[in-house]
Amino acid sequence: MMHHQMNFSKSPVCNLTPGTVIVGKWHKNRYTLMRRLGFGATGAVYLSKDANGNKVAVKIGQDNMSITSEVNVLKTFSRVQGNVLGPSLIDVDDWYYEKKQYPFYAMEYLEGENVLSFMKGKREEWVGILLVQLLTDLERLHKAGWAFGDLKPDNLIVVGPPYRIRLIDVGGTTLIGRSIKEYTEFFDRGYWGLGSRRAEPEYDLFAACMIMLNMAYPARFEKKAQPEKQLAAAVNKSPLLKRYRKIVINGLFGKYNSAEKMRNDLVHTLSTYKKQAPVADQEAMSRSVRRSNQKKKKTKILFETLLLASFLFIVYMFYLVSQTM
């Protein structure tokens, strides 16, 4: 379902004061709320302390339906090998507050920075690196039979160092083949008239490309009469996306049918792209020149080693042959 904040923002569980203690009806675990981390269509997330003083994130929702299906998704994630897809689930319970029952769940608290603020002042290679990490996770998610759905900067976080992008809000995660549960217009393929809202890898890859565009245009932009042309022009005009141009266009127009393919293209671009005469960036240039000199030296050494090895091998062969004779 759509992000629709005006309804939930009025809910009593959306504006709980720090210090509020939540005790689960079924499992009797206690959580002390510290501060609100954010709220969305389905509930509010609070940074909290559990009974042992550990930091956890607690999401309290209005209705059972969406909270329970999020829990279902988080449970599935923990069965996907490697378990880095989304935060891990700790507890699921209900809480009585002002004579009403509210479903909630506790999950691992991921400490990090919003993707867009992380990108501030960072150079274009970081766009590629964050996307490669994101696409690695998406590939595993898709292989497990799910599309993330509501892919946007708000639902991503950069943890570290070492820096690693993580998916945090799984409210939009939908079984592949079904209709996307939750989406945000700017990142939604349907809104831009570039396809359906069916959950499939291409849907997430479109959103991933829109995240790249959002990095280039932090203020975003409104849809105009010819959205296809508008998006292509936005990609082409951005200096930040210059080296990724082809990849972003392919992703936007559904040319990649797997996250892995887009990821491979990004990795290739990141490792081979040559910057054209960066006039303003003297230091970076001399650095890259130095690096390429080192590279040349390295290949020279490698070549000489190979030559020597093959020479020795031939000598050894002669030796062997002479032995049998």
């Binding site: 992000h3 339906m65 329970t68 209900d94 029952q101 209709s179 217009e185 359906s196 069916r198």
Partner: protein
């Protein structure tokens, strides 16, 4: 594939209070009795929101009597709202059915909320699954009174968006559309049953806004249209049994 029954909804898009014919709140109650959910979207004018306070109370009353969802929005939020309200109402109806099934098994006053969280997951999966696969019939009622005139382009856009969302589902969708007031009658058919909404441009250009707001008669007309469709279908196909179950418990 096994048929899973049909959900029936009326989606009313209006900007104010009715002033002609039957009481729309009573008509909404009648719809609900027949297993049809009535959802209402109240469109606010950016410049005169306070003027509309009375009309908007009616919006809430219609939806609450019609067992549906109401939402009041400014024009620019219409797209998001239309599809959100429709999908949410579907879930609510299905959850109502599932709840009454649970009550039959486990006793009165038993709801999904009373299940321990571990068991709840499976029930919600069933609800989710039905929402994705059940067929859906929506009659859209568009207020074409004078004050709505400059909003019709946005209404059109939001209905196309609704069609994108619903046609991404596995289940089948059928839409039908009426305007009130129409050119010649209080309520006029704009589009007969159709699986898509993307041919709306021509339909909307035919709309002319009038002075009266016959909301009640429009809901009545929609109920009749559902009844006719249902009787036609039961003549063709013998699937009345699976539908009956939904009609009885549709809440």
């Amino acid at each position: 594939m096994k048929r899973k029954g049909t959900l029936r909804q009326i989606l009313l898009i209006t900007d104010g209070c009715s002033n002609q014919g039957e009481d729309p709140v009573a008509m909404a109650a009648l719809a609900r009795e027949q297993g049809i959910t009535v959802n209402v979207i109240g469109v606010l004018h950016e410049d005169t929101p306070e003027y509309q306070a009375r009309g908007l109370r009616e919006v809430e009353e219609i939806a609450s009597m019609g067992g549906g969802i109401s939402q009041i929005v400014y024009t620019r939020q219409l797209s998001q709202t239309v599809q959100m309200v429709t999908k949410k109402a579907m879930t609510q109806t299905i959850q109502g059915i599932v709840n009454s099934e649970l009550q039959q098994i486990l006793g009165n006053d038993y709801r999904v909320d009373d299940l321990p969280p571990e068991k709840r997951g499976e029930v919600i999966e069933v609800v989710d699954d039905l929402g994705e696969t059940m067929d859906l019939e929506v009659i859209i009622l568009i207020d074409a009174s004078g004050s709505m005139e400059n909003k019709l382009a946005t209404v059109q856009e939001s209905l196309i968006d609704l069609s994108i969302s619903l046609n991404s589902r596995i289940g089948d969708n059928q839409f039908s559309m009426y305007a009130f007031p129409g050119k010649k009658k209080d309520v006029e058919l704009l589009m007969d049953w159709n699986g898509r909404l993307d041919s709306l441009t021509t339909i909307f250009s035919k709309l002319s806004s009038g002075g009266i707001t016959p909301t009640g008669p429009a809901i009545k007309e929609a109920i009749q249209a559902f009844t006719i469709r249902r009787s036609k279908r039961s003549l063709i196909r013998d699937d009345a049994s699976s539908d009956e179950f939904l009609e009885e418990s549709g809440m």
